[in-house]
Subunit: 346 residues, 4 copies
């Protein structure tokens, strides 16, 4: 059994890692950290886990962790992850980092969008962007994997086959994303207070969300040319689920079924991408709790526009599930280990 | 007191008309019809109206209605409205029709999108499209007003100032709309069954929704040139509310505050459009139960894209409230009569 | 126009007072206070009220308020209301207090349940418990009215006819209450954080909730004998609505229709109590946004148990609506002024 | 691998069986039936199961099923289960029946509450009531197990330790139950139409629900004396979850912690019952998707009343999970096989 630490275990991503790892056949969680909840047993801050873990949350102590654990999931806040991860890497551990600290290859971009100077450029060079559908080979050998953001995962998986096959223009691409509220984290704040959020919906950070450069970095690599996208996220009144609706001008003569065929081929061997038939659109409810990304295609011939919608669970394929998938690849486990369960419906 | 009939009163739009008319100072509802619920008192099919109406639902009988009522709201299914409205008009009544039967000026478009031949071209010519912010003067003199669809209302109000002032291109315009589930009507069906819809979200009729030609007809008139838009609606797990996120390529040099100023001027005298300051986006919760359309502006300079979001209550400004606003204009009442209440929050 | 102040206007009860007062024909709000949001315009903390109020929130200054306002709604936190209300009363103003500070006649009970010594016994003696259906005559002449808690309102209205008519035992009475989350207030905290509360439900303060002695005080007066009830509240995943299910051993031979007749007689002249026919149970959705209390009766003959369910909107009949009803009675306005609107459905 | 058939697989219980069985280590589903959806692949009626089953739904044909399957879950409507199960039993198969047809030992009670004569008394005698916490030994040897109703499971588990240990009276016991809407099944109908149910809540069948005699049958056995309970279910706006709040007059001198100790002892070896510490109440969110029953205890000393709340997922411990637990016991698998996952939170 691989010995695992989860650094930053008291948020929703941490809890989701613990949920999924409890069902993983080859691992054992030996250490969990939290500053805010240190000293409290896991089952107290996550009553749904009562009976699954005997661990107590500890303040983050990288030395203590590396003594116990062989593999580390770091689910720390942006900015504070760099230091801890440096320690883990130095002590020879393998790490999946779920913050944004190692996603952007260009430290200037990181500075521009996150307002922080990046203090460990070497680590940045070493980190592999953990989207298996695009970077699986690199992930296999990586010591440090930067787990993608939830929006980038859904957006990139929706666009990759179009750009790779050059059947859309690289301009005028719009990504309209809708996220459930767990994506905002577990810290209470007015916009996420139940009566404010329930029966509510709004756009936020229109055109300025930090996931934008991350999406652009990967899409530029896929299309082998620098490109920009207009990205607008929205908050919807649900616990889990993220839907991206992508609009891209078609450079292509076929119909929707042809595009579906291209997607099916592109994702043919992927265990966690399900391409729907033409005319069907995915629903976030069908991936709830599961590691799937469901994708649907439509073609608006009147406007020459390809419309792709992709649905993930923001906490699974958008965070903890993807992190475990990355660990499986890094460790040579079968890639679906611990991730085989269907979604929870209804 | 103006004597009112509501033809087709057992759906959500009918119920919403009854809710709002109960508070209107100058009208009295004297007749309500429903085929499915005929013979039942209003308070039985709408328990929230207990104590407000002594009326019993009757099968639709246009002669009987015109004997009692001076003004008619027709909330009948698409296709079946034409016949009834013909009768009302012939008998000299004034009518606001809430179906789609009189919205499209071109009967061929109607046939193409609704699959029905239009049987009364004369009536079509006579009907005025009931969006006061664009057609107020015509509405004043109209005998028949075609009440706009919910999506067109939000989409057109979001785009009108941009097109009128020619600060966006007329191409590559995308409308990503999100509607609460009451928009699907009151007839139970699997996709709207609570456990299927709750914690669910999906796109539907991507690029093929019937409100598309209605949006295009009005935008073409505003911009004085034929234009198309790519329109994708989504269903979100809420009772009321409709949000449109509109993407349009900027043909303009200013910043977001300049665009806000243009919107404020455009909607300066409008009692039901509230333009938010730059950087703020409207939330459907703030228009719940109210006749407002709240509009927010963002400018994505990196992509040269103007992003406008507009929020309405699909049953009020998107249906019953707009219908009453139209009646007020037609009858010479103050335009806000019966519509002055703020939204219900939380 | 009566000049009104709302002291403590930034919470949900404050916001609801402002929503309802905006539609009241005989009043004008001239002053609003908030410590946390002082300096901010009403429309900023309550965007749904944009266009309705030009007021800016001020820190609480009782002298300044009494110079402007003739009538005061105090929606301050428990404990901090006593001082402010003392000032208002001293300066001859009439006050509806929405805190718990003047509800319990016995200061020892207040101390026992709220952990605070009551500093103004004279004011306590002067205060009238503001449940019009029980104390209307006293309210009429009152200078200070203690607005009931949301749970007591629903529980007492459900039980009053049974106890008054002595058709139930005064022992073994159980009140199982379910409240929507706005009842917990507007201050963000983990249990009300959207993802924690949505799809969640739990009992809380079982047998120990502070509304218990308030319910018992009024029921004891109605039944003219001291009595206790077992009261357990629950939190349900909704914005608004409170349902009480009351279980009482029948001391009575009739059937459910007989009990319904007793309720209809008891509430015959009440404008805001709607008694349903036997076999029907009220639903919180039918009182959403309205000042009604809907009541349904069932009789479990096998167990000799009368079951009554009562539904209110916790923010309207359970708080702000009741407060306005009390003001109407105190001021000699028609009792329903500003409160005539039906609920918002769906 | 044990070959499994699911008869009646297109409802929520059927879907939940398929979800859980997909993760079970010792079984394989070989046959699924549905009248309404026959001819359609599983993944079409349950898109969340795409990739997990290649089966197509067939009309119910008991002969065909018994040729393929060794073990059968019957999730058929009440009344129509008797015939099919008779066939299965006759052909020597082992069956867990999820309908109500074999739960009540007394056919007269069945007739009284379900309005149907029971056509197979012998089968009724043979059936074992499948609540492992009470009847585990009998289940082990059973050929036919009647899977408990969702309400009885939560109610009985809440009351069993009290009655077994005689620390409550057997009279004046009240069960106030709250169920999520998936409990109403997958057939669309107006009360479960999203906009009707969302932000709604009501009691239904107060004192007359069919689960009442089932609860009473088991409680009478536990307490070794005939007893009645007053049972009132409610519908709450959530997908999954069932909470029972049980009120029972204490015949006992200790405090809440003593009662907790009794529960902990009673459920000491139970893998799926989690007893919370005194003062804590369970939340349905913590058992979502899991086979647990969480139980909390409170003692209202003022009223001499013990209050117990129990939370289950109505589709898991209240239906499909319990059925699999029963199968595990019947087949000699470890009892937790396929049921080890924690709940899904948030």
């Amino acid at each position: 059994m691989l010995k695992i630490a989860v650094a930053g275990a008291s948020g929703y991503t941490g809890g989701e890692l613990l949920r999924l790892l409890a069902q993983h056949p080859y691992v054992q969680v030996v250490s969990v950290t939290s500053e805010r909840s240190s000293g409290r047993p896991v089952a107290e801050i996550f009553p749904y886990l009562k009976g699954f873990y005997d661990l107590t949350l500890q303040p983050l102590n990288t030395k203590a962790i590396t003594e116990k654990a062989e593999f580390i999931f770091a689910a720390l806040p942006h900015g504070s992850s760099i230091g801890a991860v440096s320690d883990f890497i130095e002590m020879g551990k393998r790490v999946v980092d779920l913050s944004a600290d190692f996603r952007l290859k260009d430290p200037l971009l990181y500075e521009e969008w996150y307002g922080l100077k990046h203090s460990n450029k070497a680590l940045l060079d070493m980190a592999v962007y953990g989207l298996p559908e695009v970077y699986r080979v690199k992930i296999k050998g990586a010591q440090l994997v930067a787990n993608p953001g939830c929006y980038p995962t859904a957006a990139i998986l929706a666009l990759a086959p179009l750009l790779k096959n050059r059947i859309v223009s690289r301009e005028h691409i719009y990504i309209d994303a809708k996220s459930a509220i767990s994506g905002a984290g577990r810290l209470p704040a007015l916009p996420y207070h139940f009566p404010e959020a329930h029966e509510g919906m709004e756009a936020y950070k229109a055109g300025t969300h930090r996931h934008t450069p991350e999406i652009e970095q990967v899409l530029s690599e896929i299309s082998r040319a620098p490109m920009h996208v207009c990205f607008v996220p929205h908050l919807i009144p649900a616990n889990r689920g993220l839907l991206c609706t992508v609009y891209a001008p078609a450079a292509f003569d076929g119909d929707a079924a042809d595009i579906v065929a291209i997607y099916k081929e592109f994702y043919h061997d992927e265990p966690f991408v399900r391409v729907l038939e033409a005319g069907r659109q995915p629903n976030i409810r069908d991936v709830r709790g599961a590691n799937f990304c469901d994708i649907g295609i439509a073609l608006d011939k009147r406007n020459g526009c390809i419309i792709v919608t992709s649905a993930i669970d923001n906490l699974v394929k958008g965070a903890a599930g993807a992190a475990i998938q990355n660990m499986n690849i890094m460790m040579g486990f079968e890639e679906t280990a611990g991730l085989k369960q269907p979604g929870l419906f209804p």
